[in-house]
């Protein structure tokens, strides 16, 4: 058993942390988020050119440095710490994770590593809830082409994206794992309706309407109807990375809250001297530490067989969803009125933590996935006899 980072991983962490501390200004990034562009392109360029984080987890054949889950964890945690809005997990971990499992995506992946390609994964739909394999959008063959019909909801990172990674059903029922196909499309697509909006956590997303959109045969990636085999592991990787991002956010939030409680004075003393608040901050600390452990659990089990991998990432998401709520809410509470504003960092982190609570499925969703993957005791299997 070993929880230590290699020298290269430490270097990756430290150089990213230093760069973000020097160059990533919270106020500037919020301004960019509120703008039409929705982000700072120069930040993404630096991620690709100066820091090399976009290729850190992608294979060497496409220009990456061949790292794995631990590299993704290290990167996502630092991005969370600095509340980076640029969509690393969506584009690189989820988008890249799907693509690197499918043939024919090599050039696109090279673009991801270079920072010129950004992928917006369009999985959820108006009637899917948080279930990624609930796909009602259909794709049917039309001569050599495909025709896509349906709708996608809350597709993250759209104004920044160059490509859409869409699921569409080529056979089966709405919630079947079989029959899901993956299409990679340019964002500018004739016939595609895009409704863009900001999200509560200072990012951007869009709803897509596909009204018989004609796409060429090579838009289909991998085998028809077998998309879930690439999506399922990539989603678990994204869950692990999201957990790490949450840990980064929560570490900042806890540190800020403790610091504030030492500075803010009421009744002639620092509010941090009130035992009621000390216990609350200790409980926040316990939630953060459990989330750190959950982050390792998810990250280190990504290589396990599918059921074990899924159980670990669901366990991590349940832990982090609970922690994100508790830590976020109490950080606001302990800041009093100041916690309710956009003046301090805390308000912005609280919004991101709220989004993370639900992103890739809320706690109940993952509790039920965890339960369904947990073997029943033998007596229960036997039933009543």
């Amino acid at each position: 058993m070993d929880f230590s980072l290699t020298a290269e991983q430490q270097l990756l962490r430290d150089s990213l942390a230093d760069w973000l501390a020097d160059r990533y200004d919270l106020a500037r990034s919020r301004e960019a988020a509120a703008s039409e562009a929705g982000w700072q392109p120069e930040v993404w360029r630096a991620f690709a050119d100066d820091l090399g984080i976009l290729g850190a987890t992608l294979p060497e054949e496409v220009g990456g440095s061949g790292g794995g889950p631990v590299e993704a964890m290290v990167i996502a945690e630092q991005l969370g710490r600095a509340l980076v809005v640029e969509p690393y997990v969506d584009t690189v971990v989820l988008g890249g994770g799907v693509l690197r499992r499918l043939p024919g995506a090599g050039d696109v992946l090279k673009g991801v590593v270079a920072g010129s390609v950004r992928i917006a994964p369009g999985l959820l739909e108006p009637t899917s809830g948080h279930t990624a394999h609930s796909v009602a959008t259909t794709a049917r063959r039309d001569g050599g082409d495909w025709v896509l019909t349906g709708a996608k909801a809350v597709v993250p990172g759209v104004p920044q994206a160059t490509h859409l990674l869409l699921t569409a059903r080529t056979s089966g029922e709405q919630r079947d794992l079989d029959g899901i196909s993956i299409f990679l499309l340019p964002v500018e697509l004739p016939g595609l309706q895009v409704h863009r909006y900001r999200t509560i956590d200072d990012r951007h997303a869009a709803d897509l309407v596909l009204d018989d959109v004609q796409v060429p045969a090579d838009a289909l990636l991998g085998e028809e109807g077998r998309g879930w085999t690439a999506l399922a592991p990539a989603l678990d990787e994204a869950l692990a990375a999201l957990t790490a991002e949450a840990v980064g956010c929560m570490r900042t939030v806890l540190a800020d809250t403790v610091a504030y409680s030492k500075e803010r004075r009421q009744f002639g003393q620092p509010i941090g001297s009130f035992q009621a608040l000390q216990h609350r901050m200790v409980d926040m600390h316990l939630e953060v530490e459990q989330s750190v452990a959950a982050m390792y659990l998810a990250t280190l089990r990504l290589g396990a067989e599918p059921a074990e991998r899924a159980r670990a990432t669901s366990a991590a998401k349940v832990t982090v969803s609970r922690a994100a709520r508790f830590v976020g809410q109490n950080a606001v509470q302990l800041h009093g009125g100041m916690g309710m504003t956009q003046e301090l960092a805390i308000g912005h982190y609280f919004k991101r933590l709220t989004a993370i609570e639900y992103e890739l499925g809320p706690a109940d969703h993952h509790r039920s996935r965890y339960a369904s993957l947990t073997p029943k005791p033998r007596s229960a299997e036997r039933g009543e006899d």
């Binding site: 948080h130 909801a153 997303a205 002639g268 504003t341 639900y358 969703h365």
Partner: protein, 410 residues
């Protein structure tokens, strides 16, 4: 002993219902239904106040001689319950439910004559200037000074978190008129005309993007001594009296029941983890049932406090208890609504709601597009704004401190 309404109560309820049916326009109901916090859209709320005033129901809790209603405690309860049920935008509490009671108890005849009728018509709209940057939970530490100069008090300092200071033309506030050994002494309760020279109002941007709260800066603002309520240096007595109306007063259970119904309606139309409606998901159903059970119990708790009040007994520590239970339940329900909103709950689309104030740096889409339904746009904003419930009107930590002392003798 029973929990039923009398025939007279039911007849009264029907009368209120008929009135609401007739006078609440669809637009006013929308303003009530799409609220993102406890603050209704200002214009809609004032419009509704005018309609209520016409009927004599704008300030039912006031003594009849000033325009109140001769109602039983149950009738007050039924009126507020029916209003919420019908989706009426709530009236701003600062004038009608707060400072008016203080004026009635402590005001000079001139103050009563000037302010009370104008509060009723909405011509005078009050904001509450209690909190200061360095005096929040520790309100008595306030330091905005008011120095006597002839017939005036000259005020210098700052107030913060003032709800609707931008809309208000009057502020009731606490100022320091002298420094005594005990910080509660030397405070004065003062009414300030917001158009007086030397006042700057700066809106604050809250997490939701809404600008409802403000900070004000007072630079040698002259206020006639005639605007002091009660005695100079004895404002703490007045403030404590007002606090009883801020914390207690109305019942929370009806509002919470409606929120729970909203959650149920929302969850019935959204898919849960197994594909069936979220409302049928055992985990979600259990959470909602738990919230409803707490509301049922809170309602009886509130009835008990109300009937004690009707019997002339002081609610005592009950207002702290009800404040804690009501605000924390409300937060639970906003969590459930946000969960029910599903992935759409992440979209920031205040243009589909009726917030209680202007929005900072938000441009609605040209085509008015809304992702999902309006309630899904409301859900995250309500969740953010409702965090304030456990902070204002005496934070829940402060209420627990009060209960530890007063209820448990610790």
């Amino acid at each position: 002993m029973d929990l039923e309404w009398s025939a007279a109560d039911l007849a009264f309820r029907d009368e209120v219902r008929a009135f609401l049916d007739e006078r609440l326009t669809p637009d006013l109901r929308r303003a009530g239904r799409l609220m993102t916090s406890v603050y209704a859209d200002h214009e809609a709320s004032m419009r509704w106040q005018a309609i209520l005033h016409e009927r004599g129901w704008a300030a039912p809790a006031w003594p009849v001689e000033y325009g109140g209603c001769d109602w039983t405690v149950t009738q007050h309860y039924l009126f507020s319950r029916e209003s919420i049920l019908a989706g009426a935008p709530p009236l701003s509490p600062m004038g009608i439910s707060m400072v008016a009671h203080v004026l009635i108890e402590f005001g000079t005849p001139e103050q009563k004559e000037f302010f009370l009728p104008r509060i009723l018509t909405g011509e005078v709209f009050f904001c509450q200037g209690y909190s200061e940057p360095e005096a929040g939970s520790d309100l008595a530490a306030l330091s905005m000074t008011a120095e006597a100069d002839g017939d005036d008090l000259v005020c210098t300092g700052s107030k913060i978190w003032t709800t609707h200071a931008g809309e208000a033309n009057w502020m009731f506030c606490l100022v320091r008129t002298s420094r005594a050994a005990k910080k509660q002494q030397g405070i004065t309760f003062l009414l300030i005309d917001m158009s007086s020279p030397g006042i700057e109002v700066r809106p604050l941007v809250m997490t939701s993007g809404e600008q409802i709260q403000n900070q004000e800066f007072f630079d040698h603002v002259r206020v006639p001594k005639a605007n002091v309520v009660g005695e100079i240096d004895d404002g703490w007595t007045v403030a404590k009296y007002l606090l009883e109306f801020e914390r207690g007063g109305s019942a929370a259970a009806p509002k919470l029941q409606i929120m729970a119904d909203e959650v149920a309606r929302a969850a019935a139309g959204q898919p849960g983890p197994d594909g069936r409606p979220l409302l049928e998901s055992p985990a979600f159903a259990a959470k909602l049932a738990d919230a409803r059970i707490r509301i049922d119990v809170l309602e009886v708790l509130e009835f008990r406090v109300l009937s004690a009040a009707a019997g002339g007994r002081n609610p005592g520590t009950a207002s702290s208890m009800l404040k804690i239970l009501g605000t924390e339940l409300s937060q639970t329900l906003t969590e459930l609504l946000l969960e029910a909103a599903g992935p759409r709950g992440r979209a920031y689309q205040p243009h589909a709601t009726r917030p209680g104030g202007p929005l900072a740096g938000f441009a609605p889409p040209a085509d008015g597009y809304v992702s999902g339904e309006e309630w899904q746009a409301v859900a995250p904003l309500r969740y953010f704004n409702d965090r304030a419930g456990t902070i204002y009107a005496g934070s829940n930590e402060i209420q627990r401190n009060i209960l530890a002392k007063a209820a448990l003798g610790l």
